[in-house]
């Protein structure tokens, strides 16, 4: 092949490659737009009927065709927060252990175990939660909490073993692998020379971790939390098993509640009225918006930390 035709072939190859890449990249955006569009279009009847009242109403009554999303939104947000509160310290501890303390012989096995945790299907977590964790919580943990912290309204209730707290527990276990493996990667990026500088002025391991490693890794940890939060917000099966599926808002974390995804899973097949179906789709739209807002906040926060 002579130079000219080779050049022509390369440049047309380049053009095709560029076009194909563009197409795939743009199609992601289109897909995203379509999802929003469909969600919006399908939820229009519900939006027209209930307006903003959909978000503020606490009544979810399919028989009377009254649909308010507040209990589901509340349950989704609260269980996710519980999950983060439990999972974050544990995950940071795991990540610190793996990067700063574990002997080499332990690093591999523990790392693999954590990744395996992430690969367990959520239905398995749900069944394990319902059959193993829930009785344990109901028989031992919750009575203890009620006895000792029952004076706080958050922990005042019956030890059922299902509800927002148990759902938060199972979510915590499910997101620990995500938060800890991202945090581990972030800690690994802290330059060893920086840690050595800490040791060089006479700091102990704990002081180096607290004053040098953690501040340096802060924006990455925020990212890890958001990743976990995103997963916790949308998690369906395990939560459906554990949350109790009752569309009520209760201050007590021990009481049964519901979440957006649990409502979708439970009621999608039963929605026999167009308005019912439309309301369920609007719930999905709510979940989409919540996740989007959380991600947006995360981007803003990491950007702010990176600037500093």
């Amino acid at each position: 092949m002579n130079t000219e035709s080779r050049e022509a072939a390369t440049s047309s190859g380049d053009r095709i490659f560029k076009g194909v890449s563009y197409f795939f990249a743009i199609s992601v955006m289109c897909l995203m737009g379509l999802v929003v569009l469909v969600l919006f279009k399908e939820s229009l009847p519900s939006i027209q009927k209930f307006g903003l009242g959909f978000i503020t109403s606490t009544s979810w009554d399919p028989v009377a065709l009254e649909f308010g999303a507040l209990p589901a939104i509340y349950g989704t947000v609260v269980t996710s927060i519980i999950a983060i509160v439990i999972a974050l310290p544990i995950s940071i501890g795991i990540a610190i252990f793996l990067t700063e303390m574990a002997p080499t012989s332990l690093k591999g096995p523990i790392g693999v175990a954590i990744e395996l945790l992430a690969s367990i299907p959520s239905i398995i977590y749900g069944m394990w939660g319902l059959f193993i964790l829930s009785p344990l919580l109901g028989d031992y943990v919750e009575p203890f909490i009620i006895d000792h912290f029952g004076f706080i309204p958050l922990f005042d209730g019956a030890p059922l073993g299902i509800g927002m707290l148990p759902a938060g527990f199972i979510l915590a276990i499910m997101i620990i692998p995500f938060i800890s493996s991202v945090s581990r990667d972030v800690f690994l990026m802290v330059p060893s020379i920086l840690k050595e500088s800490g040791y060089g002025v006479g700091a102990t391991k704990w002081e180096v971790i607290r004053r040098v490693v953690l501040p340096f890794a802060r924006s990455g940890i925020v990212g890890a939390v958001i990743l976990g939060l995103g997963r916790a917000l949308g998690e369906t099966m395990a939560v459906t098993f554990m949350i109790g599926n009752s569309p009520d808002i209760s201050l007590s974390l021990l009481d049964p509640a519901t979440s957006i995804s649990a409502t979708l899973a439970n009621e999608f097949t039963e929605a026999d009225h167009p308005l019912y179906l439309s309301s369920i789709v609007e719930l999905g739209l709510m979940l989409f918006i919540i996740t989007f807002v959380v991600l947006a906040i995360a981007k803003l926060m990491t950007r702010r930390y990176e600037k500093r």
């Binding site: 050595e196 800490g198 002025v201 006479g202 500093r308």
Partner: protein, 255 residues
Amino acid sequence: MSDKMTEKMEVKGLNFYYGTKQALKDINLAVQEGEITALIGPSGCGKTTFLRCLNRMHDLYPGNRYEGEILLEGKNILRKGIDLIKLRSRIGMVFQKPTPFPMSISDNIAFGLKLKGIRNRGEIEGRVETALKDSALFDEVKDRLNTPALSLSGGQQQRLCIARAVAVEPDVILMDEPCSALDPVATVKIEDLMSELKSNYTVVIVTHNMQQAARVSEYTGFFMLGEVMEFDRTKRIFTNPKNKMTEDYITGRFG
């Protein structure tokens, strides 16, 4: 130059191993108090490895092993049961690249002071200021002590790191190619600073830059393949080296 000399550190028959690989062979040399001792040699010759033996930085990583003795004011720092945290607060270190902590300028310096157990705010502020003045940085940063240290220029960051090392008043300051990431102007500032520090501190500096060793140091050790080829007064090393290899290296015939 007074002839009365005190040996701050003395290294006797030091061997060092990374796992099974021997990196230093039978090192013997003495670091004189209140002087700058330079370590030169080609890449991979063991000079940085040696420097990191002096504050036992190697102990942070598993599998490293020392043999022999390193005496700090007569006491062997390689002995078992020595408090490494205390040792490192007596032997400060400055690295190849500036390593400010992710906190404000004054907190960077206060970091080591707080570790030493100094809690009094007034005393901390005073010593932060002294350390910044000692490292010729105070005038440039006095209006923004509470801004992040990462906002400083590279040269300023390195002087901050020196200030941080100086603030805890160590016996010895180790510098591992402190100017390798800096431009010539910043390098001159650091070199001036080293000469001033000499009156109060003992400095050991690893450098790739032979002119720098010649300019700032009183003693020079030439390392090759994990051994000290020659250790002598800098003047003699650069004008009349005994070892042929030293001569070849400083005249630029290899390395």
